[in-house]
């Protein structure tokens, strides 16, 4: 695979937002984070009423045990630290397991601009929406106008292929793989979801993983030992194909880090694997928690929803899907090359809406690793 030739990496720049930790965001949203399902409608209403605010409604935050509870907790904290997030309003109900107060305290100690309130704390949903709008507006107003010039090396490109259809494996993934290499060559990071590929081929996965990441990979394999994959279709396909066949979107790059779902990635460049299933909404949340500022989603089916925290650029290698969903697909992999995709990524990073942002429908979900109690 040859690296793209023109324009050069130096010419692919965009205007982003520089966060206190140096990371570059390509969006500048106030996150309204419900700490539990019971407060998600209030969170949605707060965000709907504040320019520049987005909410992340989900079905969890209570009745979870041990590792399952812990995973949701860690995901919340990591999302608030995502470079696309300017500040966070944590909204709780008050009686739930993952307490909004605790989340806010943890975020504060990490230097994230944060406000917190709970429905029971303020005395009802009406009051909670009112005060939440005040808080979110404060954080939105506190956003800096300053843009920072950035390049491909400032991208943390998230990758998810939510199926392993023939067109995904043979057309979309290889294209994505070229893009991944280009980003890494420019000094950027690539974070990939899709644990089914490694659980189906542990030996090949180990061979592709370098250094300390091998220990983390062993941990991941341990966690999944004896458990069927959540995305059963992709799981089957991953088993039926070779590791190489199932991971063309990784561009042949070494796996330099393997992180649990909900954790941020520690490396500054190269490719990292996030322990996330290939379910689009769950995977993208895992990628956002890992630090992705933009996501490339290979989809044969044409899953069209975006994500509240990261722009999702949809790529398909399926001509039928391109024809069926003309306004929902950003990249027709049967016709585009890596340069086209890199240009599109830079455009999106510069603020141009991807298809999913244009229609505005998003989906947010967190991976569960235990039963509801």
């Amino acid at each position: 695979m040859s690296a793209p030739t023109a324009p050069t990496a130096a010419e692919r720049t965009f205007q982003g937002v520089r966060r206190p930790d140096g990371a570059i965001g390509v969006r500048d949203n106030v996150l309204v984070l419900p700490s539990v399902i019971c407060s998600h409608i209030v969170a949605d209403r707060i965000a709907a009423n504040v320019e520049g605010a987005v909410s992340t409604p989900h079905d969890h935050g209570c009745a979870q045990l041990g590792a399952d509870n812990d995973q949701t907790w860690r995901t919340f904290l990591s999302l608030a630290a995502n470079p696309n997030v300017a500040g966070t309003v944590v909204v709780g109900l008050g009686c739930e397991e993952i307490q909004s107060e605790d989340v806010a305290e943890a975020l504060q100690s990490r230097g994230v601009p944060v406000r917190e309130l709970s429905i029971q704390g303020v005395g009802g949903t009406d009051e909670c929406v009112r005060r939440g709008v005040e808080f979110a507006s404060e954080l939105a107003a506190a956003r800096s106008d300053e843009a920072a010039t950035a390049g491909l090396g400032d991208l943390t490109l998230g990758l998810v292929s939510s199926d392993l259809d023939a067109t995904t494996r043979e057309v979309a993934d290889p294209l994505v793989g070229e893009v991944a290499r280009a980003v890494v060559d420019a000094g950027g990071r690539v974070v990939v979801a899709g644990n089914e590929r490694v659980t189906a081929h542990p030996a090949a996965a180990r061979a592709a993983t370098v250094g300390d990441a091998r220990d983390s990979l062993a941990d991941l394999l341990d966690r999944h030992d004896g458990h069927p994959p959540r995305a059963s279709g992709v799981g089957r396909a991953a088993r039926d194909r070779s590791f190489e066949d199932a991971t063309r979107s990784w561009g042949g790059l070494d796996v330099s880090a393997v992180v649990p779902y909900g954790d941020p990635v520690g490396i500054d460049e190269g490719l990292a694997l996030v322990d996330a299933p290939s379910r689009f909404a769950e995977a993208t949340t895992g990628l956002a928690a890992a630090g992705a500022n933009v996501v490339l989603h290979a989809t044969g089916d044409g899953v069209l929803t975006g994500h509240p925290l990261v722009p999702v650029v949809k790529v398909t290698g399926d001509e039928g899907t391109v024809a069926a969903l003309p306004n929902d697909i950003d990249v027709d992999a049967t016709a585009a090359d890596a340069d086209d995709v890199l240009d599109r990524l830079v455009d999106v990073a510069n603020g141009r809406e991807c298809c999913a942002e244009a229609h505005g429908l998003t989906e947010f979900a967190i991976t569960r690793v235990g039963p509801s109690m």
Partner: protein, 395 residues
């Protein structure tokens, strides 16, 4: 006290207390379109968005399907539009056919065939208006309270739940059962420590064994995860409110079903019998999933007791909030329908039960609850996790 209400008689004979067009996504990939179309057309359209995947292991997928079909068949639903992306494991046609088996009008919308998001939103809205044109022609008729399936839940519990709110709701359940209706409570982890009391009230050995079996299965999930139940059961809110152990919580929780014999125990989202007396459903304690299970089972109205102040509702069935905590009533009465905290001032449980029962009939007759007025409609489907499937296989 009237023993009747005005309801919508459906083709299968069951009576609804609301008259919605349900918008049911088959997977998370179709949920956003389902919600957006329903939001756009009006309050008569009710979406049931969820986060379950486009491909699930068989047992989990079957449970999801059962919930989707049950929601479509709930008597509060006059017609259903089942929405899919088009490539999911769960087939919208299949779900629609199963919904239509009881005579409910059911159609499908496939996003891929519609031409994408914008096109699906447009077509969805058109189809919903058409479905509603039929649905809104339904006229209410007099129905007996015996035709009510009353779901009962407790959430955000504290010590007042077992002392005031739950016994009060339980008294209303006794009245309804006496009048020939069905009362159903669930939340199996909240039988732990009190199951012997329920077991003694089971009408036959089969029900008794099934009940104890299900409690055992829920309790061993904690063992599965290698942790104690605390934090999940009781929750921090429960503990702040005075509940120390799951046993204490459960002993207070079971009183919400009243005192009549336990006639049966059904699976999550399994159809509840009309005129069935007191029936249990095996669900997690997790409120939103638990309420959805009962509504998918056919419950037309839900009473939800809360000490700390849960504010959740449901898109398909009106949820009546009852608190036994005077402080919660004072602070959050905007989100609560019935104050049972008066028990601490001397009102009798029976008197509270009477008020709950009256509210049930009023709500069945069309009065909107606080959560309905605010469109607080949470929806989530319990997903059988891989760990549970593995445990079942090992068992």
């Amino acid at each position: 006290m009237d023993a009747t209400f005005e309801g919508y008689r459906r083709p299968d004979g069951r009576v609804g207390v609301r008259n919605y067009v349900a918008v049911i996504p088959t997977s998370v990939a179709a949920a956003a379109v389902a919600t957006a179309t329903a939001d756009e057309v009006g309050a008569w359209a009710r979406a049931t968005p969820h986060q379950l995947g486009t491909s699930q292991p068989d047992a989990a997928r079957r449970q999801t399907e059962r919930v989707l079909v049950g929601i479509g068949q709930n008597p509060n639903v006059g017609a259903a539009l089942v929405v899919e992306l088009g490539t999911e494991d769960i087939d919208a046609e299949d779900v629609a056919d199963r919904v239509a088996a009881d005579g409910t009008a059911a159609e499908t919308l496939t996003i891929r065939e519609a031409g994408g998001t914008e096109a699906a939103l447009d077509e969805g809205e058109t189809r919903l208006h058409r479905l509603n044109d039929e649905v809104k022609r339904a006229r209410r008729e007099e129905a007996d309270v015996a035709e009510l399936v009353f779901g009962v839940e407790c959430g955000g519990s504290d010590a007042t739940s077992g002392i005031a709110a739950n016994p009060g709701v339980g008294a209303a359940c006794d009245r309804l059962v006496e009048a020939g209706g069905t009362a159903c409570f669930s939340e199996t982890p909240e039988f732990i420590g009190a199951e012997h009391i329920l077991a003694d009230r089971c009408v036959d050995e089969e029900t008794r064994e099934r009940l104890l079996d299900r409690v055992d299965a829920r309790e061993s999930m904690a063992e599965l995860m290698g942790v104690d139940l605390r934090g999940a059961q009781p929750t921090p809110g429960n503990q702040e409110g005075g509940l120390t152990t799951i046993e204490e919580k459960s002993l207070g929780a079971i009183s919400k079903g009243g005192t009549t014999p336990v006639r049966g125990i059904v699976d999550y989202a399994e159809t509840l019998p009309v005129g069935g007396g007191l029936v249990l459903m095996d669900t997690p304690g997790y409120d939103v999933e638990s309420v959805v299970g009962k509504v998918a089972g056919g419950a037309q109205v839900v009473a939800f007791t809360t000490g700390r102040g849960s504010t959740t509702g449901n898109p398909i069935a009106p949820v009546i909030k009852v608190t036994g905590n005077p402080q919660t009533w004072e602070r959050m009465s905007n989100n609560i329908d019935v104050n049972a905290g008066t028990v601490f001032d001397g009102e009798s449980i029976d008197s509270v039960g009477e008020r709950v029962y009256e509210t049930l009939v009023d709500v069945a007759n069309g009065r909107r609850t606080e959560s309905e007025r605010r469109r607080l409609e949470e929806f989530a489907i319990n997903e059988i996790q891989p760990e549970e499937l593995t445990a079942e296989a090992d068992a």
